[in-house]
Assembly symmetry: C2
Homo-oligomer: 370 residues x 2
């Protein structure tokens, strides 16, 4: 009896499955790899498509080859029997019900703690090209946003008007998203958050946009052809920013650029985070809980890995004491959030190199738009 690594799911729920099998499908399917073979097992519905998608060295089998199986556990048990596999390693997110059933049938099932494919953290040149392509789509969408905010006019009550209509978060997001999806990238949750909505980092934003307020625009498209993500944030002000918003912009931009200056192989993730945080502090922006009980200041991490997942290893957070090794693609995104005036975040994607980092983002440092 031999050992093998199994993944069960689909390319949307499991980046590892897409990475390992080279295939993606809307419905769950099975993939396993051993020292002797790599096999993707799909239904008749996906069989032809899988055959033309998987790498040459991989086999595709039809699940009907394994008899009348009535559940994923029965399928995996039948596959294990066919290939004489007795020990199975699975991703940490492997479904518990299937694992329990396989164990009852006498198979050894071990979840792999951490990354199932640790090499996913370090991008090959081909992967960097795919991330660049996704980030270029984010750049285009951000350009669309800047053009619309630039073309917008300001009504007497400071609300923005574009194309004859009041300009809302929903409309501006719709234009950015339309730009991305026309290029085959899926924008799953674009943030266009003006004023107070921007004080909550994951609020998507809603309603009328106004002159003078910061408008946080966070764009993260997944290129559907490759499965890789881009990630990009800028904060705009239509017209003139208040003194505090300008100060926040200067602090965040300085923190981003100076942190990027320190990103390289050997840099410590937690120290990068602390360094950016210290720059924000030095500018007078404190992190904590405000008098109304809201979190304020810089209360998320400086960045995260980006690849087949929008949030993946490594995290540039105060809790990650590892050093960067080179080859990672990470976001660098300091932010400030206060319920008194809103949010300010500025984010690039960078590739960690030996002596420095390579910025993969092409968008300029937007801020005030006349």
């Amino acid at each position: 009896m031999k050992k093998a690594r199994f993944i069960y799911g689909n390319g949307t729920t499991s980046a590892d499955l897409r990475y390992g099998s080279g295939f993606d499908a809307p419905d769950d399917f099975l993939y396993f790899e051993s020292d002797e073979e790599r096999v993707t097992i799909v239904s008749t519905l996906e069989f032809d498509r899988a055959r033309s998608a998987v790498p040459e060295e991989c086999q595709v089998r039809n699940l009907s080859d394994f008899g009348q199986v009535r559940s994923p556990a029965e399928l995996i048990a039948a596959v294990a029997k066919t290939y004489q596999i007795g020990e199975i390693a699975v991703p940490q997110t492997f479904p518990l019900l299937i694992a329990d059933e396989l164990r009852r049938r006498g198979l050894s099932v071990t979840p792999v703690a951490g990354c199932f494919y640790p090499q996913r953290e370090f991008k090959t040149p081909a992967e960097v090209v795919k991330i660049l392509a996704a980030e270029a789509i984010a750049d285009l969408a951000m350009k669309t946003v800047a053009e619309i905010l630039g073309a917008a006019t300001i009504d007497d009550d400071l609300s923005l008007r574009w194309n004859g209509e009041i300009l809302t978060s929903e409309i501006l997001r719709g234009e950015a998203d339309a730009c991305m999806i026309r290029r085959g990238a899926l924008p799953d949750g674009t943030i266009v958050a003006g004023g107070i909505h921007g004080a909550c980092p994951h609020c998507r934003g809603e309603g009328t946009l106004f002159a003078g307020q910061p408008i946080v625009v966070d764009i993260f498209p997944r290129d559907l052809a490759s499965g890789y993500w881009g990630d990009l944030t800028r904060t705009f002000v239509k017209g003139k920013a208040s003194a505090i918003v300008r100060a926040a912009h200067d602090a965040v931009t300085e923190a981003k650029l100076r942190a990027e200056d320190r990103v390289r192989a050997g840099a410590n993730a937690a120290q990068l985070h602390q360094y950016a945080a210290s720059i924000l502090e030095k500018h007078g922006f404190h992190t904590g809980i405000d008098s109304d009980g809201y979190a304020c200041g810089f209360f998320h991490s400086l960045g995260h890995g980006v690849g087949l997942e929008i949030h993946e290893t490594p995290r540039l957070s105060s809790r990650n004491n590892n050093n960067l090794a080179g080859g990672e693609v990470v976001s660098v995104e300091p932010g400030l959030y206060y319920h008194s005036w809103g949010g300010m975040r500025n984010e690039d994607l960078v590739l960690v190199e030996k002596e420095s980092c390579r910025v993969l983002t092409g968008t300029p440092e937007y801020f005030e738009l006349a």
Copy 2:
């Protein structure tokens, strides 16, 4: 020690989590419910947003309330201790690594086979309204597709031309997707498959579209505000269809409409599938493997439940011998696929009612466009 039901994940990977907690976030979070309480536990980053999203009877706790936890298993163990919980039921997809760790710590962890919330299968009036809203967005996108195909001209080589350009699957999909995303719905994998591409039911389609060929358009937007899906397919021919494609259209349309006539509380799912299959057979369209080894005919199931997941219980498949109970929302989508001429699928969403079904789709029976 009491019992509770725990869900860990995010609203994209777990429809149950969104259903139970009423909340959605891009990063993983924890929810549990017992006889005494319903609690959502999120990071500081999501705390304010969660507080305003969850139902009134639910609490939101900050994960920092549970000490310095370094993993989801530590968090769940700390929560279980705080709330004196000794037995945990989880969805069948609960991550194995967390379950193993909790069991090592002495907690009983049991995956619930099948639906974690069986009531998700039966839609409340409020849920039907949400599905209707999503389906209405699909209807609008299909109208856009029909308008573009109607406006397209035919070049000498039969390729379609629109807006001064050769019309491709990518362009037509982009316009449909832009329509949906502008309305706040996420179209994750729209199919626009012309000719031979349509012979593979899950091929998204690519390249130039031609007159005379069947163009399968399958649109399934998720309304991001509610999380509910719509699902809609039509097959178009620009210009005149060949005799075989017309015969396939007639067969599929008859199978769909006559199957819908039989959808009601008490109808047997497998029999509905077999009934549609028999109509296709009667029209002379056989299911099996063609001389080149490709699956052909009607080789997927007649339909599937739609709600917070695009594919959910119940399946209208030959393997589901259950009767419908009323309150389900299901797709009805017979299809035919042959490598000799392409694909033909026609799909509505319907609500199962006591004596009949209510069609939730507003799109007409498109086919040939002049």
